[in-house]
């Protein structure tokens, strides 16, 4: 048997994150409570370093290495970069929040980094096994993070629920993968893609496998009817963790969707399209309608997130390169918006006060006109009103579905975005039209203030000049 040394260069960012995570694990042991910030800084440095490595290693040609289990293509590079940025922002928002609740421990950042590593592996997976490995690494980190506040009953319940449901979903996915392996005889997504496309396998088992894969993906994305965990986890977890769960993992789940359905089973598009239509339409309808009834902003954003996932799926289900690009654009746009949304919740909260109730946002315009404006920008963006980022994401997705003559799907989408506008407007109403019950001005550290402002302005800026990001997503998919 001859053993070739694989090309490790494309895997360097992953190795770097892994190495740094181990270093932080060790360093954190020797830090006193006062110096805990060192772990935080090291974690942020890791993300910056990984970003530099990913950018530095970028090449326009696809590189497959480690015996065909790992791929570094443009999509992977762009999504990884976005994941680093999202995690960086999450850590930054989380810092003071955690400190005020004596959760400022190395574990949060460590688990966060391991989660990032898992996502990186998912994004770059070229084999069913790698994909599963990355997924589990990410999921286990997330379960543990949700449970970080171990004295809190809601948090423990959320973690338990997340873990049990997540385990079932993983099992489904694994079952689907085993069927896929059984019919095609390979774990390599490229080989699977060729065999499925070649028509060599037209088994019923393959269709069954596809169904299980879609269920697993839908669960990780939080699409209806596999969304049950989303509101409870978003609500129960400490806001800093919610921020993490709601942003970067969606990018990774999008990558998983692309790898499995498009790379692996692209030729079965007609079959999975119908499933995705169902998921997308249900998500948009149920997410938007149920969000109206929420009085807790974290639950509201959770249901709004479900509806956004529906739109994301609309892009992918079209089965065209433009549609995939639209889905990716939507995923990135959603990550930016949800970071801002939960960032606002963190900004408003103080030690002993979570600012979770919608009524806590009453009269924000009197207390802080600037952040009321930022929140308004975020809300209008999520509602899909131009000239904000969320509008262009919706536009791209609608274009994709209309281009494949699924006009009814687009009409359902826009109709329920009108329904959705109602609850976003209600938040704005509370901030602008109601009197403040709590007149105290907002207190927050400057780094949180500046990042949140940049976050809000990015939603506006990317809305006024959406061309760059849109072109990037298109270039990646073509």
């Amino acid at each position: 048997m001859n053993f070739e040394t694989p090309d490790f260069l494309p895997v360097v960012p992953e190795l770097f994150v892994l190495g740094m995570a181990c270093v932080i694990l060790l360093v954190d042991l020797f830090l006193s409570e006062r110096n805990r910030v060192v772990s935080y800084l090291l974690a942020q440095a890791t993300l910056v370093g990984a970003a530099l490595l990913t950018v530095g290693l970028y090449s326009p040609t696809d590189q497959i290495t480690l015996n065909g289990t790992f791929i570094l293509d443009s999509m992977a590079a762009v999504l990884k970069f976005c994941i680093y940025v999202a995690a960086f922002v999450v850590f930054l928002y989380a810092k003071d929040y955690l400190r005020a609740r004596s959760l400022f421990q190395g574990e949060f950042f460590l688990l966060g980094l391991f989660g990032v590593l898992g996502m990186m592996i998912m994004v770059s997976a070229h084999s069913l096994l790698t994909l599963y490995l990355g997924l589990e690494l990410m999921s286990l980190s997330l379960y543990a993070m949700v449970a970080l506040q171990r004295d809190s009953v809601v948090a423990s319940e959320a973690a338990m629920k997340y873990f049990v449901l997540g385990a079932i979903a993983s099992a489904m996915l694994l079952y689907g993968m085993s069927m896929l392996y059984g019919t095609t005889g390979s774990l390599d997504l490229g080989v699977i893609g060729d065999r499925v496309a070649g028509g060599a396998v037209t088994d019923l088992v393959l269709s069954f496998g596809l169904v299980f894969l879609v269920i697993g993906i839908a669960f990780k994305l939080g699409a209806v009817p596999f969304h049950m965990w989303v509101p409870d986890v978003y609500h129960g977890a400490p806001t800093a963790v919610t921020l993490y769960v709601s942003s970067a993992p969606k990018l990774a789940a999008f990558a998983m969707l692309m790898r499995l359905l498009v790379d692996g089973m692209g030729s079965l598009h007609a079959q999975w399209q119908e499933m995705l239509i169902l998921l997308a339409v249900l998500s948009v309808v149920i997410g938007n309608v149920v969000a109206i009834a929420q009085t807790n902003i974290k639950r509201l954003l959770a249901y709004s997130g479900i509806s956004h996932i529906g739109f994301l799926l609309m892009g992918v289900l079209s089965g065209t390169a433009e549609g995939y690009a639209a889905g990716m654009y939507y995923a990135i746009a959603y990550a930016i918006m949800t970071l801002g949304g939960f960032g606002m919740v963190i900004l408003m909260s103080r030690s002993g006060f979570e600012a979770e109730d919608l009524s806590d946002y009453k009269g924000l315009n009197q207390r802080s006109p600037w952040f009321a404006l930022m929140m308004m920008v975020l809300m209008f963006s999520m509602a899909g009103v131009p000239p904000f980022l969320g509008f262009w994401a919706k536009l791209a997705v609608l274009q994709a579905v209309i281009s494949v003559d699924l006009i009814w799907v687009a009409v359902v989408g826009v109709l329920f975005s009108v329904v959705g506008a109602f609850y976003y407007l209600r938040v704005i109403k509370l901030m602008y039209f109601d009197k403040a019950e709590d007149e105290r001005p907002i207190e927050a550290a400057p780094d949180l203030r500046y990042t949140l402002s940049i976050n809000g302005l990015a939603v506006l800026g990317l809305g006024l000049f959406p061309g760059g990001l849109m072109a990037l997503c298109t270039a990646v998919m073509l």
Partner: protein, 506 residues
């Protein structure tokens, strides 16, 4: 000397930048700085829009003052601006009305004046953008974005039921526009461009045309508003502060009518021709039925709101009667052009008149804090100068010859005659109904004995109020006596439009 400047960009961005500046200065010291900056920005914008009129070439139907730059390359969206005889007068109307609104809000708005002024300046820029956009996506962005400041204006400075009114306003309009978005995307995929002029040239089948027409109809009918999707307007008008009502009536409603001229008619002429009965029916219902509804109102603002709906019915009638004329008398573009021109004149006239009427109600409301007709009576005794203005505007609202209100209505009725006697007959009832509800209101508010002690204590208008009412009086009389410049500006464009819609696109 102005020809080299990107005038359209300037009239869009000057007020927006001005608005941001105003927002940045904040409301300290009663917002004096904010108000001064707002006044300067609005005057500057108005000044910048004058060369659009002065330098306008009235011999061509081509787009003028064109600016073109790529905006979003990957979906070929361009920053494409230009005006023709249809949009240029509306931009002028916008910049003009904005100055009045800034003056009208000067002393009245005590709560957060900087945000108030900023909202109106930004609104002005966005409305100019919507009128000047030649790229459908650019148009859509402006069209939707201008809901945001209006939503805020009604919600913060509105009356007791402001939250209900503003949510209704936003959701109604948003509901309408999303269908337009789907139609625009369809057209983009069909033509490969978002250029409105490319849409005009596109050949489209009848089924697709009908669906596109209906999608546009929902969007524009809500905005105009046409019966039966008008119910947001009385609520919004009643609850909005005076400035909001003025902008809403004078300009935002025009956006809907403008949409018909810019999108529905030229992009889907065949569908427009086959569905013109529907449009004429809805327009006549608005004119007659809503006229009667206005008669029954007890609230001055509601009355004027319903009168606006009724008058806007005239506008849409004028636009769509063209197709009936084609059928009636083969190629008689003259009658058709008269209907469309009449609708256009009516739009501008209604902009002045309804704005003036709302400002008059605002003047009364600032003093008595009531809009109920029953709370007034005999105002002429204590406010003679104001009464003079209000009577003039009321006459214009009723369509008295010599005022702006007459010209457009007369042209539309004349053109309706060419299509069908009964159209004209029903439309002409507005001359009676309009006079009835307007003058009856004036009688009850201004004349009679002074019964209420509050009315007895009224003081007449001050110099600031005299200024904006006086300017509007000149505009109303000027347009009524000498509408020729306006007709001259829009003539070639309308003739071109008539030729365009007379030819089938199938």
């Amino acid at each position: 000397m102005f020809a080299e400047l990107p005038l359209l960009s300037l009239v869009i961005w000057t007020p927006i930048v001005g608005g941001l500046l105003v927002l940045a200065t904040g409301s300290k010291r009663g917002g004096l700085e904010a108000k001064v900056i707002a006044l300067i920005a609005s005057l500057l914008t108005f000044a910048l829009s004058i060369p659009l009129f002065a330098g306008f070439d009235t011999t061509t139907a081509q787009m003028q003052f064109v600016e073109l730059a790529p905006w979003i390359a990957s979906i070929s969206v361009n920053y494409h601006l230009g005006v023709d005889g249809i949009s240029m007068p509306l931009i002028l109307l916008t910049t003009f009305t904005t100055v009045l609104v800034v003056i009208a809000g000067w002393e009245v708005i005590q709560d957060r004046p900087a945000q108030y002024m900023a909202a109106f300046l930004i609104l002005a820029g966005l409305m100019n953008g919507a009128f000047a956009a030649l790229d459908a996506m650019l148009f859509y962005v402006f069209w939707e974005a201008l809901l945001i400041p209006m939503f805020i204006v009604i919600g913060i400075w509105g009356g007791p039921r402001r939250v209900y009114a503003t949510l209704k306003f936003f959701l109604y309009t948003f509901f309408g526009s999303v269908f337009m978005l789907v139609a625009l995307i369809y057209l983009y995929l069909d033509t490969g461009s978002f250029g409105i002029l490319d849409f005009h040239a596109a050949k489209i089948g009848l089924t697709a045309q009908t669906l596109i027409f209906l999608a546009f109809l929902i969007a524009f009918a809500v905005k105009v508003p046409m019966w039966p999707v008008h119910t947001w307007l009385p609520d919004a008008h009643v609850e909005a502060p005076t400035g909001g009502s003025v902008i809403l009536a004078a300009i935002m409603l025009k956006l809907g009518a403008y949409g018909f001229l810019r999108f529905s008619l030229p992009i889907t002429p065949d569908a427009s021709a086959s569905l013109d009965w529907l449009m004429i029916l809805l327009s006549l219902v608005a004119v007659v039925y809503i006229g009667f509804v206005a008669l029954a109102q007890q609230d001055m603002k509601k009355l004027i709101a319903y009168s606006s709906i009724s008058h806007m019915g005239f506008v849409t009638l004028g636009f769509f009667v063209a197709f009936a004329i084609f059928r009636q008398s083969g190629d008689n573009p003259l009658g058709a052009a008269m209907g469309i021109e009449g609708g256009m004149v009516q739009m501008v006239a209604h902009g002045f008149v309804s704005g003036a009427m709302f400002l008059c109600v605002g003047v009364l409301y600032d003093r008595l804090h009531s809009r109920d007709i029953a709370d007034y009576g005999g105002v002429v005794n204590t406010m003679p100068i104001f009464a003079g203005f209000m009577v003039l505007f009321a006459m214009a609202n009723a369509g008295l010859p010599g005022t702006a209100g007459f010209v457009g209505e007369f042209m539309v009725i004349l053109s309706a005659f060419k299509a069908n006697f009964w159209y004209a007959f029903l439309a002409a009832t507005t001359l009676i109904l309009g006079a009835a509800y307007t003058l009856w209101m004036v009688k009850r508010v201004l004349y009679g004995k002074v019964t209420s002690p509050k009315v007895a204590a009224l003081t007449d208008i001050n110099a600031r109020e005299f200024l904006f009412l006086g300017i509007l009086a000149i505009a109303v009389l000027g347009l009524g006596v000498y509408p020729a410049p306006l007709l001259e500006v829009m003539g070639p464009t309308v003739d071109n439009l008539v030729q365009h819609i007379a030819a089938s696109k199938l």
